[in-house]
């Protein structure tokens, strides 16, 4: 029984090779391109919304709300899957030294289901997108069209898309875990894995545990909508001039189920981002990662804490104040693994000879955004302060700084870093640098201003602010944000241009242009169908042996024998005889 594709020939036909491909590299690129497309749509929605909020009122309130819902949902589909599914798919098998994923067919299925999820989501935009936000809190989302426009068919399609996403993510997660555990090459012990692999593994484990919960919640919500059950709908709701037939459900149940998924979901995005950044940063700092073991430990911390802090989204939701207390304290503890990462980055950079190439710039931007977003979280985590900050623009600013901006910076870093291996060409450094500065400054101005608007008590999801006197001072802030957001969104054209131009006209890349250490850089461009053309190389060290004393070059590939700085030399390394 063998499922590796070393034993079958590379498919010849175009369709089997590039469309319905089971090759993890093709699937990785498919993910990347599909998600770039969806991200552009999501960004376009932002442009419309910012135009409406800060420059001229052009939308109906319900249109604003549907655009907002679609923006969040699309980005959440996109951002969720990109760090893991695009880069994880392409580079996890390469970095652990495998010929493919453990389940190539499941991998293909996972992509097509994810794509279907994205398309169904887009189709809900056409029939009238829901206005219930990406959290889809019932009863608004559960009782159908009587609650508002878009809550009929649009909301149902939205739910179908979410269900598809769950299925796709579960298949992906299963595959990632099996591959990491089962397909490592000789000498690649768990403590020698590149940190990026650890990140993908962590995301997969988290995903495997929480996506089923969302899908169960989704089934119940779908039944509430289509089967007229009342899981999330209490008795005696009066909507649209009549009393609804539902009886006895609890809207809070959905919030519990949703956030049990929703909070770890943030880690599913940010943890692989952090890990990819750590990996890339070590390369451009030419320094071994500081505290690799602690990083791995703190990943376990993220998974564990991620599963027990969902209640901090519900401090004012009407759940028991005692649980609020518990969730608040637990949430503050999340700062520990996060700080371990921050300290590791700082220490890795300290005194390093930094090469300021675009991948590194994005990593540095990531760290800065991560610190800013992270300290903001210390405010929300305190239940008493969250009474004020909850559901205000503070939260919008906070989540975008971390969940959106930091994550997208890691994606930019990864694209610039791995582009040569994926497409055999280099991206343009100058364009990358300009794009970096525009995006970083833009992100800070936009989202720090939003934090600041939170002080006013500006509720989020407001289509207009003219009604309230206490929001009058926010009008100029909205204009500022909109202008900067339009410029920043415009700057993304630089990136898209750089990406597509380099795809065809970039400088041809060498096998290992960044003098990097992990296994993918031992492979020729383009990477052959079964990755390692002959035997899979044996690994003798971790991926962060930079600046070794006394070496001829300032790095050692993982395949190079000899003493390493990973503290495990001699352990688990096969003797020469056995190769």
């Amino acid at each position: 029984m063998s499922e590796t594709h070393a034993e079958h020939e590379a498919p010849r036909s175009f369709i089997r090779r590039y469309i319905f491909s089971m090759d993890h590299k093709v699937i990785g690129i498919q993910y990347l391109l599909a998600m770039l497309l969806l991200a552009v749509v999501g960004l376009a929605l932002t442009v419309v919304m910012r135009w409406h909020l800060g420059i001229r009122t052009v939308l109906r309130p319900e249109t604003y709300l549907s655009l907002m819902t679609m923006h969040a949902s699309l980005m959440f589909v996109v951002v969720t899957v990109t760090p893991t599914s695009a880069f994880g798919n392409y580079f996890l098998p390469l970095q652990v030294g495998a010929r493919d994923m453990a389940f190539p067919f499941l991998n293909m299925l996972s992509f097509w289901v994810a794509l279907a999820a994205g398309l169904v989501l887009l189709s809900s935009l056409i029939v009238g997108a829901p206005i219930s936000g990406w959290t889809a809190y019932p009863p608004l989302s559960a009782v159908g069209g009587v609650a508002g426009p878009g809550l009929g068919l649009g909301q149902t399609l939205w739910l179908v898309a979410v269900a598809l996403l769950c299925v796709s993510s579960m298949m992906g997660a299963l595959n990632f875990i099996a591959t990491t555990l089962n397909l490592r090459t000789r000498g690649m012990s768990m403590m020698r894995l590149p940190v990026s692999v650890w990140g993908w593994l962590t995301a997969a484990v988290t995903g495997l545990l929480v996506f089923p919960v969302l899908s169960a919640g989704g089934i119940m919500l779908l039944l509430d909508r289509l089967g007229k059950t009342s899981f999330f709908v209490p008795s005696g709701l009066y909507l649209g001039g009549e009393v609804l037939p539902h009886q006895g459900g609890s809207p809070l149940l959905w919030q519990h189920l949703f956030w049990f998924f929703g909070h770890p979901e943030v880690y599913i995005v940010i943890v692989p981002s952090m890990c990819m950044v750590t990996h890339i940063m070590a390369n451009f700092a030419r320094r071994p990662i500081f505290g690799y073991r602690y990083l791995v430990l703190s990943l376990f911390g993220f998974v564990t804490l991620g599963g027990v802090v969902w209640g901090h989204h519900m401090f004012v939701s009407g759940m028991s104040p005692y649980s609020g207390l518990a969730f608040s304290i637990l949430t503050l503890f999340v700062s520990i693994p996060a700080a371990i990462f921050a300290i590791s980055w700082l220490m890795t950079l300290w005194g390093a000879r930094i090469q300021f190439r675009p991948p590194m710039l994005y990593c540095l931007g990531f760290v800065s955004l991560f610190i800013s977003g992270g300290v903001g979280g210390l405010f929300n985590a305190q239940s008493s302060l969250d009474i004020y900050l909850h559901d205000t623009y503070w939260v919008v600013g906070h989540l975008h700084l971390l969940f959106a901006m930091a994550a997208i910076f890691s994606v930019f870093a990864a694209i610039h870093f791995w582009f040569p291996k994926m497409f055999g060409r280099m991206m343009n450094d100058t364009l990358g640098t300009i794009h970096f500065w525009f995006t970083l400054v833009g992100a800070y101005i936009i989202f720090l201003t939003m934090h600041y608007m939170g002080f006013l008590g500006h509720p989020r999801r407001y289509a207009e602010i003219s009604q309230f006197d206490f929001l009058k001072p926010a009008a100029s802030a909205h204009t500022l944000i909109s202008v900067v957001a339009l410029i920043t969104a415009g700057a993304q054209i630089l990136f898209l241009f750089n990406f597509f131009w380099s795809l065809f006209a970039g400088r041809k890349a060498a096998t290992n242009p960044w003098n990097s250490t992990s296994l993918e850089w031992t492979l020729p461009n383009p990477v052959p169908f079964s990755n390692f053309e002959r035997d899979i190389p044996v690994v003798h060290r971790w991926a962060y042996d930079f600046e070794l004393p006394g070496g001829a070059q300032d790095y050692e590939m993982q395949t190079a024998p000899g003493p390493s700085m990973d503290g495990q030399t001699g352990k688990g390394v096969p003797t020469e005889k056995s190769t």
Binding site: L140, L237, V243, L325, Q382
Partner: protein, 259 residues
């Protein structure tokens, strides 16, 4: 030249931020409730500690990056880390916040309901606030969804004995200053959230539940009530007014309204 421009930009931004904080542009509206003051002081502490942490972390990070510029050929230098110190620092931060913050939280939620609080019921709907005072008998009449009409927005049972004198207002909550008020929050349709920035009070309103919150307003004046939980297309327009009056003025008003 480039350096001069960079410095200029830096100082301009810094001056702008300081000025914005100093002039209290987009700052918290003044607190007018008892618990609001303790929340504000907790916020000030957090702001100071976290602000310092934020500046220190970013500065340290910036310094590390700048030091790495243009260095070549020099052997890398390591900063001896002190994990024990770092761990203690983080635990101290967690400790400070959990104690301070949870005290403020407990002050608000873990107190016995005061027996002499003024009872007001607030029933939210898409997209308005129905406000009910119990009237002279001090008792709310019973309600049911089946009695709801446009003219009877909260569904008062017409045959209810204690309901006859209930006073129902729309989008207007009047309370006396310096007296505890107990709000019972209900919703007719979807989730809403009762949000008065000046009161430092935000509470989601869940259909099917009657959630009670207490507050004591310290200053008279008119304050806006906003909805803070997405409730549909008119979410942004769901506005109410909280009017805090002097005690006798309030009594007088209540008498006049319920004649």
């Amino acid at each position: 030249m480039r350096r001069a421009v960079a410095w200029l930009v830096f100082w301009l931004v810094a001056a702008g931020v300081v000025a914005a904080f100093y002039k209290r542009v987009l700052w918290f509206p003044p607190a007018v409730s008892e618990h609001g003051l303790s929340m504000d002081s907790q916020f000030s502490v957090s702001f100071l500690v976290i602000g310092t942490l934020f500046v220190a972390a970013q500065a340290l990070f910036g310094y590390a990056v700048l030091r790495g510029r243009g260095k070549s050929g020099q052997p890398p230098s390591f900063w001896p880390s002190n994990p024990r110190f770092e761990k203690r620092l983080i635990l101290a931060i967690v400790g400070v916040f959990s104690m301070g913050s949870e005290k403020a939280w407990a002050n608000m939620y873990f107190r016995k309901p005061s027996p002499d609080a003024l009872e007001i019921e607030l029933t939210a709907e898409q997209f308005a606030w129905n406000v009910r005072y119990p009237g002279a008998d001090g008792q709310f009449g019973d309600t049911a969804p089946k009695f709801i009409t446009r003219a009877n927005p909260i569904g008062l049972n017409p045959s209810s004995r204690s309901g006859g004198d209930d006073l129902v207002l729309l989008n207007e909550v009047r309370v006396p200053a310096q007296r505890r008020v107990r709000l019972t929050l209900r919703s007719k349709d979807v989730l809403h959230s009762f949000w008065v920035p000046n009161l430092r009070l935000k509470q989601d309103i869940v259909p099917g539940l009657a959630i009670q919150v207490e507050f004591l307003a310290t200053k008279t004046g008119q304050f806006e009530i906003a909805c803070a939980e997405l409730c549909g297309l008119g979410h942004f327009r769901m506005k109410g007014t909280l009017i805090v009056m002097e005690a006798q003025e309030f009594d007088q008003w209540l008498e006049e309204e319920s004649e």
